[in-house]
């Protein structure tokens, strides 16, 4: 079990956007086969990608390796997959995870299956970065669609929440020989001039020296004995805030960030559940068929006799996302809703 170290004084702190940029730059310096491809990624005078992650990269690496494309998600994904099949290590960008549905054939039928169909002769080493999350953008620019891909054998699914793990995992993903979908929350980037997550400090300690964080490894963000809470991205921070409130009532939450959703770090999660006897899952993806359902099923299969109460989930309600902030906040799992789920789990 890995417990994330707290920040020490005087250490270097970066936002997720900065950490991702640093990871990409390091990997592009390390391996000339790494390249970026997508819409608005390197246009001079442009945005540096939809969320500013790529600012400055074109100046260092040039347009041969920072490739701007038409608005053609199928072509971007197909080009990345084909190049990966030929030994390159592309990092395609689709701006919003909602646009993944434009290239489901490329991702699900091609990227995920080429290795298997070729009997191991080919591989698809690529990392598709996918910004997710509600931010008053409505039904088609705010979804958290990671669970669709958790259902696809052949893909790996990563879901980052802080700068330290974002950098370490992105570097691991670039060097991984399998296709990795890398989900990042729009409200957690910390890009300058962009929305912040309700005044939260969006920086984290990121060491100067090179490091990697392994795919398939969860982290315990807060140790506790009363109940295990597994949560990602905004739901993770809301769960951590709820945990602080509940500590006053004597409920000590063990909060786990799974970081990789496919494959799940069962070892870390099961060990915690066996210790606490209780499990709450929180994610911004919708409830029905969400990855929380898969985790609940696995815990029920492997840890049922350790459970002292039914598993509880706090997820987005099963409706499309509305824009009006007051309605949007009803749909996503709020801190209050996550707290209530934990309390209910601890009642039994």
């Amino acid at each position: 079990m890995t417990v994330a170290a707290g920040p020490a004084n005087g250490e270097r702190r970066l936002t997720i956007a900065e950490a991702l940029r640093e990871a990409i730059a390091e990997e592009m310096r390390h391996d000339e086969k790494v390249f970026l491809i997508g819409e608005d990624v390197g246009v001079p005078g442009g945005f540096g990608g939809a969320f500013g992650v790529y600012l400055g990269l074109t100046e260092e690496f040039g347009h041969d390796r920072i490739i701007d494309t038409p608005i053609s998600e199928k072509a971007i994904a197909g080009a990345a997959i084909g190049a990966a099949l030929m030994g390159m290590r592309p990092i395609p960008d689709l701006q919003y995870a909602d646009f993944l549905f434009e290239c489901m054939d490329e991702l699900v039928n091609q990227a995920a299956k080429m290795r298997y169909m070729s009997n191991g002769k080919l591989s698809v080493p690529m990392v598709l970065r996918c910004p997710v999350g509600t931010a008053n953008r409505g039904a088609q620019h705010g979804q958290c669609p990671e669970s669709y891909f958790v259902h696809v054998p052949g893909l790996k699914v990563v879901c980052v929440s802080d700068a330290y793990h974002a950098k370490g995992l992105l570097k691991s993903a670039v060097r991984d020989d399998d296709p990795v979908l890398f989900f990042e929350h729009k409200l957690l980037y910390g890009s300058k001039g962009r929305e912040q997550a309700g005044g939260m400090d969006l920086t984290a300690h990121v060491p100067e020296e090179e490091y990697f964080f392994p795919i398939g490894k969860a982290v315990v963000k807060r140790a506790g004995t009363s109940v295990t809470v597994v949560a990602t991205q905004m739901s993770l921070y809301r769960a951590l805030a709820a945990a602080e409130e509940l500590a006053h009532d004597g409920i000590e939450c063990e909060v786990i960030d799974p970081l990789t959703l496919l494959p799940l770090d069962e070892e870390t999660i099961f060990a915690s559940v066996r210790k606490t006897g209780r499990l709450v899952i929180a994610h911004e993806d919708t409830l029905t068929g969400g990855w929380g359902a898969e985790l609940a099923a696995r815990v029920a299969e492997e840890c049922l006799y350790s459970l002292q109460a039914p598993i509880r989930r706090a997820a987005s309600h099963d409706v499309p996302l509305p824009v009006a902030p007051v309605m949007e906040q009803t749909v996503v799992p709020s801190q209050a809703r996550i707290k209530a789920a934990i309390q209910r789990c601890c009642e039994g």
């Binding site: 390249f35 491809i37 041969d64 390796r65 490739i67 494309t69 038409p70 053609s72 998600e73 199928k74 072509a75 971007i76 994904a77 197909g78 080009a79 990345a80 997959i81 084909g82 190049a83 990966a84 099949l85 030929m86 030994g87 390159m88 592309p90 290239c103 054939d105 490329e106 039928n109 091609q110 995920a112 080429m114 290795r115 298997y116 169909m117 070729s118 009997n119 191991g120 002769k121 080919l122 591989s123 080493p125 054998p153 052949g154 790996k156 991984d176 020989d177 399998d178 392994p214 795919i215 398939g216 990789t260 494959p263 799940l264 770090d265 069962e266 070892e267």
Partner: protein
């Protein structure tokens, strides 16, 4: 089969074909024709599982195009890939064993008829989603461009795929990136049972090239020498850095779309007209003007013998181990693997 005849493309064209080379083209087309006939019979007899999409009638396209490719060039193929696979040099025995679902198959039994391929000869596992190859092929071309190799990628697809979004996105992207790709459309007039003219007001797929600023050309897909010549030009241009082109081969599949298709949607007169243009018969007649019939008959015998041997190899080959089904989805397995 990627040519071992030492024929080289000229800068903007393709060299003449001598009689020995023509005989080789004949042999390759005949091998595909007889392969398709054999495997269909074996399928009906229950020796080959799954389904089959045969390509009798379309052999000139596969053989003509692949004849101008190097072994290091790549192709993508479709749900109808047997001809492309044999023409690009996939081992006959490994292809046959793959259809039998045997461990010695070119994909170890995991691919089957619709995913025939072998990276060692430059063929991805065939992509059986209509239009699926049209975007993936751009990545092959992009990699060649970025790695500054002189390789070329050819995307085989049908008339049906030309109405998929993937066709348009792939062609446009290849065009703006000046990628070394030849889009080779086999227009066999029907998408399964639906006539192409009912799905497009544009009668020729090749004219769509103009929409993307690339060269488009209509080619007689029933003439292997015409197919070879057109492909030779397009490949030479792509190799020279002049970007992609769209070749439309007018062709016809003599068999049904897949197993059990009795072809009720087209007339026997139409079929007879196209069989008059059978590319194998045409080339044999041409060769008979200069070669002794005995040499042609000997080629036929060699093809039959090779197929006999391939079928026997497939029959004798071991089945895959059942547990092998559970491995191979990932290059790097993390955590537990599936267990039977």
């Amino acid at each position: 089969m990627t040519s071992g005849t030492g024929v080289e493309n000229t800068e903007r064209g393709v060299s003449e074909v001598d009689t020995a080379h023509e005989l080789d083209l004949y042999r390759q087309m005949l091998l595909i024709r007889r392969f398709e006939e054999r495997v269909y019979l074996l399928y009906l007899q229950g020796e080959i599982p799954g389904t089959l999409h045969q390509s009798q009638g379309q052999e000139a396209v596969a053989v003509g195009v692949c004849d101008v490719l190097q072994r290091t060039d790549w192709i993508t193929s479709t749900h109808r890939p047997h001809g492309h696979a044999l023409a690009k040099g996939v081992d006959l025995r490994a292809a046959m064993a793959e259809l039998f679902g045997k461990a010695t198959g070119c994909c170890g039994g995991k691919g089957g008829s619709m995913h025939l391929g072998d990276p060692s000869v430059g063929m991805l596992p065939a992509i059986a989603i209509v239009g699926g190859g049209n975007t993936v092929v751009t990545g092959l071309g992009l990699a060649f461009k970025l790695m500054r190799t002189d390789q070329v990628a050819v995307c085989f697809f049908g008339d049906g795929a030309s109405n998929e979004g993937a066709f348009h996105e792939g062609l446009n992207f290849a065009a703006v990136q000046h990628l070394p790709i030849v889009f080779a459309c086999e227009n066999n007039l029907y998408g399964a049972s639906t006539p192409f003219h009912e799905t497009s007001l544009v009668p020729d797929v090749a004219t769509r090239a103009a929409a993307y600023g690339v060269r488009g050309e209509i080619v007689d897909g029933m003439d292997v020498l015409a197919a070879r010549e057109a492909a030779g030009r397009a490949v030479a241009e792509a190799r020279a850095g002049d970007g992609p082109s769209l070749l439309e081969f007018k062709t016809y599949r003599f068999a049904g779309h897949s197993r059990g298709d009795v072809r009720g949607y087209r007339s026997r007169d139409e079929e007879a007209d196209w069989k008059e243009r059978d590319p194998i018969v045409r080339l044999r007649e041409r060769l008979a003007l200069t070669l002794d019939e005995g040499i042609l008959d000997e080629t036929d015998t060699q093809v039959e013998a090779a197929l006999d041997e391939a079928v026997e190899f497939a029959r004798q080959s071991p089945l895959p181990r059942p547990e092998d089904a559970l491995t191979g989805a990932y290059a790097t397995v993390i955590g537990r693997e599936a267990t039977p």
